[in-house]
Amino acid sequence: MPEQQLLDAEKGQAPVIGPGHTFATVTDKISSVVLTQRQPLMWFATLSTAFLLTMLLLLAVTVLFAKGTGIWGINMPVAWGFAITNFVWWIGIGHAGTLISAILLLLNQPWRNSINRFAEAMTIFAVACAGLFPILHLGRPWLFYWLIPYPNTMGVQPQFRSPLVWDVFAVTTYATVSVLFWFVGLLPDLATLRDRSQTRLGQMFYGMLAMGWRGSARHWRQHEVASLLLAGLATPLVLSVHTVVSFDFTIAILPGWHSTIFPPYFVAGAIYSGFAMVLVLAIPLRAAYGLGDLITMRHLDNSAKVMLGTGLIVAYSYLMEAFMAWYSGVGVEKFLMLNRMTGPYAEQFWMLVSCNIVIIQLLWFRKVRQNTLALFGISIVVLIGMWLERYVIIVTSLHRDFLPSSWGMFHPTRWDWATYTGTIGLFLLLFFLFVRLLPMISIFEVRTLLPEARVKEETRA
């Protein structure tokens, strides 16, 4: 790896931006991906695969609408199955984007400038995939708007004591704030693309999206204020959205769900899987587009460290779950834990433990963190592990509850798999269209990382 030679002499860390860049080269490099450069083979390959998977999703959803949720493996007692597993998984993945764009902005972590744009895009597309599942899971999905309070002829409002309604508010707020934050951040770059575009179509497209951005001092000032305000709005969402999602479980009295540890444990798990997705997207992107000098080893290293940290919190939570099951002295709780470890879904449980706790320990080693291939592999493993975690929580709790007479099993059908892989396709399709059409790295924010920007500030001060 050539990046390893780029270590900062003082800190022993890779720099956040490769040497030799100036304002002009940064703008050239990022905007050329959209405007002039031929797309690499990887782009065509991923986009066509993603397109096929999206078609599979369309097919699965059409069959679902025609025949109903009976095409899935769900039934009593396991009525949640894949749909809710996927919902929690996707919404969790989104959290890393918001953490990077909002919390790291407020914490003044400039290294986030190179990865916030595509991480935010990841958030939006993940939330879009997540939002599909609760609606698809409804028996009559065309009546989904009943979840929203509006003056209806039935004279009733949604049940505000139900966490499922809180979910609607949490997720729609999250989607709205994320889209706004993303779009506001894009404005100056859209104007750059408008000004550099050589075709009439490009000028019109980026011109309309840029909303008349001229880069005046007043524009910049208002942009700064708006960004900070939106970051302030988005910051609590990083913690609150997955907390509310965890309420879907904790408010129920089912063993394995009814636990106060869930909110922090879910938030940590969300950021954990989110950073895994950031790495899964960043590593191939920087290789295919030659962006190693903008998304440096420093970014990969930092993301891996966040993954390790949140992974340890998740491991601690698993341990506490097991401890509390024993310490509570409640029979059903103890049975649930034993059943998780040795019951019919023991295989999935031990797979999740090895994915989420064991394999992640490799990240303690700098050698592993500096190896992009290993990082990519570990991130995929974490994504699988976090999906299994939600699957195990949902299925093992539901399939053996208080009444042995109502015990049952859940077996996914091929439509379960088709819907799930279909949303992965939709996510990748949206993401790679984004890479093609919009600057995947924030041009104006990366420019502030350059020595040129810093020198000016210092001389003025």
């Binding site: 003056p151 004279g155 019109m204 011109g207 909303m211 008349g212």
Partner: protein
């Protein structure tokens, strides 16, 4: 570099952004009004019937009690449609040769019921019981409107769930004394709320708004 957009774009974009908000609000308002209009609920529209039966004549002019024809209203969920025999009690004597009443005589002769067009048709997922409403002081005209003024019968209320709940949530606004339930000329007194509260207590009327009260 030449300008990409014409100067008018400024105005167009401003108008379209604010216009979109306004347009969405108008669409929402229009949909909600349409949903409640008599076009959607079919309220206030007289229905065609096989025999042009007039409540205005029978109830308004002649002063029939509702229960003369709707015999099971006090004991059953269904108020009951009169059998042809009830019609023929009078119409074997008066208007006995009227061509208007030919379907009634045919029905009497053949034993085939007259196929009336239903005016108040609740969805099948709603359980409704006439007898309990009548017993608890809900007047016929409270829901069915001034039938004594309907030449052909029409649906008076929207039959929307919000309309049911309007009374179920605050029954004191509508209940009347039991001896006034079948009166078509009864007007609520000015102190309806006071009387209503008294009656709610006296008749032990519960405000039943649980889902399973009606959706069983």
């Amino acid at each position: 570099m030449p300008q990409i957009f014409h100067r008018s774009t400024n105005t167009i974009s401003r108008v379209s952004i604010f216009g979109a908000v306004f347009a969405l609000a108008v669409v929402g308002w229009a949909l909600s009004s349409l949903d409640r209009s008599s076009y959607a609920t079919r309220a206030n529209t007289p229905r065609e019937q096989p025999v042009a039966f007039s409540h205005a004549h029978h109830v308004g002019d002649e002063g029939f009690d509702c229960r003369y024809c709707h015999t099971s209203v006090e004991t059953s969920s269904f108020a009951g449609l009169p059998s042809t025999e009830i019609c023929m009690n009078c119409h074997s004597q008066i208007w006995a040769d009227s061509p208007e009443l030919a379907p009634v005589r045919d029905s009497f002769r053949t034993g085939q019921s007259i196929r009336w067009t239903r005016v108040h048709d609740l969805p099948d997922f709603v359980y409704f019981n006439h007898s309990i409403h009548v017993k608890q002081g809900v007047g016929c005209t409270t829901c069915h409107g001034p039938v004594d003024k309907m030449p052909l019968t029409w649906q008076h209320a929207s039959l929307h769930m919000e309309w049911c709940l309007d009374c179920h949530r605050q029954p004191e606004r509508y209940v009347r004394p039991r001896d006034q339930v079948f009166s078509v000329t009864y007007q609520p007194p000015p102190d309806q709320l006071e009387l209503g509260r008294k009656l709610v207590k006296e008749y032990n009327i519960q405000s039943l708004t649980s889902c399973s009260t009606c959706h069983r």
